[in-house]
Amino acid sequence: MKELLVTRGLGLEIDRKNIIRDVDTSLAVGEIKGVMGPNGAGKSTFLRLLAGELCPTSGEIALRGEDMTSKPAREFNKSGISYVSQRPGPFPDLTVEENVRGAVQRGSLFSRRSVRSKVDTLVDLIGIQAKLGLSARELSYGEMRTLDVGMALASEPVLLLADEPTAGVSGDVADEIITLLKGLCRSNDGRRFGLDGLIFVEHDKGTVFHLADRVGFLREGRFVVEGSPEEVRENRAVVQYLAEHGVD
């Protein structure tokens, strides 16, 4: 199977604390991976490493065989990795339209026409037409998260990393976001903004087991178990965790 993303011995140590320990994992082309685990397990930190926002203190990250490890965050984006952080990220003082355009224009700063058409396509895709003129701070939480996803897609990434994109978002909007992400991965036959891979962090086990091809259970900075949803669901550590924290 062709690998999209591979990590080898990935670790992050801050103040002598090992936040991520020796993680070997991979994502196949076309695969959706869900990451779950208790609060403070290191899920966000793991994604931030993969997004290039943090630099690992050990190990390496490769995207389609290309070593990314010591590159700055912007190079991750240019190589095709996009990231939705856990905290909502639209620029609050810019309008929704400016937020989308700012994310879209990066690769083609001065070709107004192509920026315009891509903004329109993206705005259609995330369904935020009615809010274009508002400043991002006026959006509801769910709209902000939707805009986050749209902005992450703007660079037409191959791999999307999403940190709890639906946490705190009301049911309908959360469903829309999940459906959108799923659609972009499942029918990526040349479709615009289609994805070759998705890694998402999620607390809600229903969402994880429904959306993911493979699930990883992270605890204290390492994957206790990784595998198909069925395998992971039966793992003792996971069973215990879900019994204590499971939402359903």
Binding site: A51, G52, E53, P72, A73, R74, F76, N77, K78, Y83, S85, G89, F91, P92, D93, L94, E98, R101, G102, A103, Q105, R106, G107, L109, F110, V115, G133, M151, A154, S155
Partner: protein, 317 residues
């Protein structure tokens, strides 16, 4: 018409009216006031250069006096070496941009609050160097700008035209794709980086453009007064630019001009006690601004006018 474009139109009309009224003002003013008005425009341009770096790109720089002084001297030598005014001004802009690139490239390496200190130290250093190198700058005694002065009204219209030009160019820049990146960096630099932008490059570019504009202000000030000295590098010019911009409204084109005009007016009214009053006033203003209306006079007017038009909309509908 949508609310956005309606507001846009209102802004355009208001700006045109303001710009035109300033243009006809000399017809009704005495010589002294025309000189003051000319100075206000130069200070407005100078503050605008800081506004690009701070109000649009989010970098609190104290380094504008470096560009101001450099611009004044480049113009002076341009005139001394008989390049003529237009070519000298081009040299001033290019020199300011180049200096901005260099200063910016050093400053953006420094993170956080130290950034402010580094630009302040740079400004002080430039002043000391200018004082020490009398052979070049004339030190305290300065140099005369050897030119035939055009007359007060004619000079006003030269500066007025220039202020208008710089204002329009700056407007075009901040509305351009590059200006959008500046504003993204101001909002959240790390996020802009995650979206693929080389933010340090854009920050240096902002410095270069701000450097060119500040240098032009310095050059025009030297041209207007017919005299330059090492004092043109004094860091207090940087402080003035900060105060004018923050008072008038950062992140707007009109703000720096409004701030410069307001403070010049207050200075004239309080002339004899100004030396004591200014520092206190500045302190109070800054506290008031930060606590009360962070986007300055222009922001306040904008908020009042949008509240007014919102109300109208509600009444009508």
């Amino acid at each position: 018409m949508s609310g956005g474009s309606k507001r846009y139109l209102m802004k355009a009309v208001a700006s045109s009216v303001a710009v035109t009224s300033i243009g006809v003002l000399p017809l009704f003013l005495g010589r002294f006031q025309v000189v003051l008005l000319t100075e206000v425009i130069i200070w407005g341009v100078f503050a605008l250069s800081f506004n690009l770096i701070y109000g649009y790109t989010g970098m609190l720089s104290f380094g504008q006096s470096m560009f101001f002084g450099a611009g004044a001297y480049i113009l002076t030598y341009g005139i001394i070496w008989e390049f003529g005014l237009p070519l000298s001004l081009v040299m001033v802009a290019l020199g300011g941009a180049l200096l901005g690139l260099i200063v910016g490239a050093v400053a953006v390496r420094v993170r956080g609050a130290k950034f402010f200190l580094v630009t302040l130290v740079g400004a002080i250093l430039f002043h000391l160097i200018a004082l020490d190198n009398r052979w070049l700058t004339g030190g305290d005694d300065g140099l005369l700008v050897p030119l035939q002065f055009r007359g007060i009204t004619e000079n006003f219209y030269l500066i007025y035209g220039f202020g208008l030009f710089v204002g329009l160019v700056t407007f075009a820049i901040v509305k351009s794709p590059v200006g959008l990146v500046f504003r993204m960096i101001k909002g959240d630099r790390e996020r802009a980086e995650l979206l693929g932008y080389w933010t340090d490059g854009y920050r240096i570019l902002s410095f270069a453009i701000g450097g060119a504009i500040a240098a032009l202000a310095g050059g025009l000030y030297g041209y207007t007064t017919g005299f330059v000295s090492a004092d043109f590098f004094h860091w207090s010019y940087s402080a003035d630019a900060v105060v004018w911009t923050v008072l008038g409204g950062s992140g707007t084109i009109a703000g720096p001009f409004v701030g410069a005009a307001l403070l010049t007016f207050i200075r004239e009214v309080l002339s004899s006690t100004w030396g004591v009053v200014y520092p206190v006033l500045v302190g109070l203003l800054l506290v008031g601004l930060v606590l009360g209306f962070p986007d300055g006079v222009v922001g306040l007017l904008g908020r009042i006018s949008s509240r007014y038009s919102d109300k109208k909309g509600a009444d009508g509908g």
